[in-house]
Amino acid sequence: MSDSRNAVLGNLRQSLRRSDDRATAEHAVEARLATHAANLVPERGRKNRVGLIELFIAEAAKVDVTIDRVDALAAVPRAIAAYLSTHNLPAKVTVAPDPALDAVPWQDQPTLGVRRGNADARDAVTVTGAFAGVAETGTLVLLSSPDSPTGLNFLPDAHIVVMMADRMLGTFEDVWTRVRSRGEGFMPRAVNWITGPSRSADIEQTLLLGAHGPKKLHLVLIDEPGA
């Protein structure tokens, strides 16, 4: 295969007439990669915290995300139990092993079955945290890790995300700044931008929710007073 590598690169260099300018070209590439400068960032995502949350809620609603706002982590089990019963979903959830969800007092809802771990094929409902919300398009960003296995985001019928309001960002550029701040090897195996529940319009251009991924995406947003 190294023959092919040389052939492809050789052909490219010939097409690009790359010879004396090689150093300059490399320099341009290095500089661009090192500075990873933002391009034009839409104004829409530049707002204060309150504005961002309003924008997120408006955008997410357009893509069929349902949102429940509570004022403390302690209120999460009751909110989830209520959501499940309203939507006729089983009172059984698989919760990501995310430490941010350790303090949720699940025992307050004795009728709610809770398992911590990755999703398996039979799980109807999963609960995860999120790395960030992005107001510009109502998108949730999840990073894969032992605390946040990717299967939880794609296998269930309903995916519930529990997120603190202070994770709300304006734009995707803000997300990358935060991902980069994780340091060396900042990219996890998967960065998932999720904008609404799964859908398809492949049959007669009729839009239907729930193609392969979750049919429902629900956000429990925690606005802690004073946070």
């Binding site: 295969m1 092919s4 590598r5 052939a7 492809v8 690169l9 052909n11 490219l12 260099r13 097409s15 690009l16 007439r17 070209a25 341009a28 590439v29 661009r32 990669l33 990873h36 400068a37 933002a38 391009n39 034009l40 839409p42 104004e43 829409r44 955008e59 893509v63 398009t137 109502g138 998108t139 890790s145 296995p149 990717t150 794609f154 995707f172 550029e173 990358w176 090897g185 990219m187 195996r189 998967a190 960065v191 998932n192 931008w193 999720i194 904008t195 799964s198 859908r199 398809s200 319009a201 492949d202 049959i203 007669e204 251009q205 239907l208 729930g210 193609a211 392969h212 991924g213 979750p214």
Partner: protein, 474 residues
């Protein structure tokens, strides 16, 4: 994939008589076209973002050799493997070898035009590996042994009755009396069928909308979530992409994504955008344990630096198809190869040769709507004209067309003679049609008059009338 572009005329005739296809095409303008316009209008920066998207791709193409090396180094640093392939044969062999090495029997696939280009499914099947398309539209056409007819809506040519018949024929284990009347029940059936396949697959094959040099990531964009199940569940993930899919940084990818979904479907963002980097990390609960990127050249390295380089900016959004009156009349299959619509007419001659694809550059009215909506501002009409010139230079047009063009060129270079000849012809035509004002059949123009009338000239040319007016002077 084997091309049938030589049969373009026949294919088009068939397409015009295909009722479900015509019905589907009729919906394009009220669907994709309207939604794109609304999304573009909602984002004040949209036009400026298109300029930047174009500039990013131009910058990449001018430095593609170096970016590819950086991309490779970063994939390797994350424990992945990059396979370079000159052509379709090498790419097919590479994917097959990875599947064999993994002891694979089945491979799930999410939508990838490159795998269409290299006819991967046939190759895997012939070698004992079952490929399973998982995008709903792709799944339907795989069952029907057809090819995609649109970049982002592969089964757009079918109606729900055809899908129902296909499912009844394929899913024989399900009760024959089941109700499949509604698109919803068809979707549910496909979801249930494919769920098992996702869980059982040994290898997952995805395309990639972009490759990020900075991080060695591949980017997939779907609305269904099938690319994610394809890459998360099996032991091995193979991403296959052509070399021009590189972008420098995460920020550059973000800019392109802002114009991609809006141009494609009018969504602000597609449902799932995934940046996949390397294989499963230590302690991860899921993800593939091996990550391969198969890079296909497929003739692209020779197009760079030449007159057709601009077409390599394409991000496969499908907007030019949705806005093209020719695509809107005949759909995708008539084009006879993987890519259809304006981008197909420009790309196909570049990838399989103008001799094979000589019919395609003519399949355009050059109305310019494609260029007006292309998110990376590819000058599609100009590129089409360039191919027409090449076609003429190489003598690939029909004798009649060459004779006609030759005659016109002869006259056009001799204005006196031109005016004299045209003047005579106009007078004759004007007299012949005096009664109706138009022709219902004309001996040498049956192709026109068979379906519509030809308005008759008034009997005098423009120049005659101009001269007659106020002495022809201002």
């Amino acid at each position: 994939m084997q091309s049938t572009t030589r049969l373009f005329d026949d294919n088009s005739r068939k397409a015009l008589a295909d009722a479900p296809l015509q019905q589907a095409l009729g919906k394009l303008s009220s669907n994709f076209t309207v939604k794109r316009a609304l999304a573009a209008a909602r984002l004040p920066e949209f036009e400026a973002l298109r300029d930047q998207a174009r500039d990013i791709k131009d910058h990449v193409l001018a430095h593609l050799d170096i970016y590819l090396e950086r991309f490779e180094a970063n994939v390797v640093a994350q424990g992945g493997v990059v396979h370079w392939c000159r052509d379709a044969d090498e790419a097919r062999a590479t994917v097959l070898a990875i599947c064999h090495e993994a002891g694979a029997r089945t491979a799930t696939k999410s939508k990838s035009m490159i795998t269409e280009e290299i006819a991967l499914n046939d190759h895997l099947e012939a070698n004992g590996i079952e490929p399973i398309e998982t995008d709903l539209g792709e799944y339907i056409i795989q069952l029907r042994h057809e090819h995609p007819s649109h970049l982002i809506a592969p089964a757009i040519h079918l109606n729900k009755n055809q899908v129902e018949a296909t499912f009844r024929a394929a899913h024989t284990d399900l009760p024959p009396g089941r109700n499949l009347e509604e698109p919803r029940s068809l979707l549910e059936e496909a979801r249930a069928k494919l769920r098992r396949r996702f869980l059982d697959a040994d290898v997952g094959i995805t395309g990639a909308n972009m490759l990020i040099a900075e991080t060695g990531s591949i980017v997939t964009v779907t609305n269904e979530g099938n690319a994610d199940l394809t890459m998360t569940l099996p032991r091995v993930h193979i991403a296959i992409a052509s070399i021009e899919k590189i972008v420098p940084t995460l920020e550059d990818a973000t800019t392109l994504l802002r114009v991609l979904a809006r141009s494609a479907t009018g969504q602000e963002n597609s449902v799932y955008t995934t940046f996949a980097t390397g294989s499963r990390r230590t302690d991860d609960a899921d993800g593939p344990s091996a990550f391969h990127v198969v890079l296909l050249d497929g003739g692209r390295s020779s197009l760079i630096g030449g007159a057709f380089q601009d077409m390599l900016r394409c991000i496969r959004c499908g907007a030019c198809l949705n806005h093209c009156p020719v695509y809107g009349a005949i759909g995708g299959h008539a084009y006879g190869w993987v890519y259809s619509g304006p981008i197909g007419s420009v790309l196909t001659p570049g990838l399989i040769g103008i001799a094979e694809a000589a019919k395609l550059p003519g399949a355009s009215t050059l109305c310019g709507r494609c260029e007006a909506v292309c998110p990376v501002r590819i000058p599609l009409p100009r590129l089409l004209r360039q191919w027409r010139e090449k076609e003429f230079e190489q003598g690939l047009q029909s004798k009649t067309a060459r004779f006609g063009l030759g005659l016109w060129a002869f006259l056009a270079r001799r204005p006196q003679l031109y005016r004299a000849v045209v003047g005579v012809v106009m007078r004759i035509l004007g007299r012949l049609a005096r009664r109706h004002g138009s022709f219902y059949n004309l001996p040498f123009a049956a192709g026109w008059t068979a379906d519509r009338e030809l308005p008759a000239p008034e009997g005098r040319t423009f120049i005659d009338q101009w001269r007659a007016r106020a002495g022809g002077h201002r």
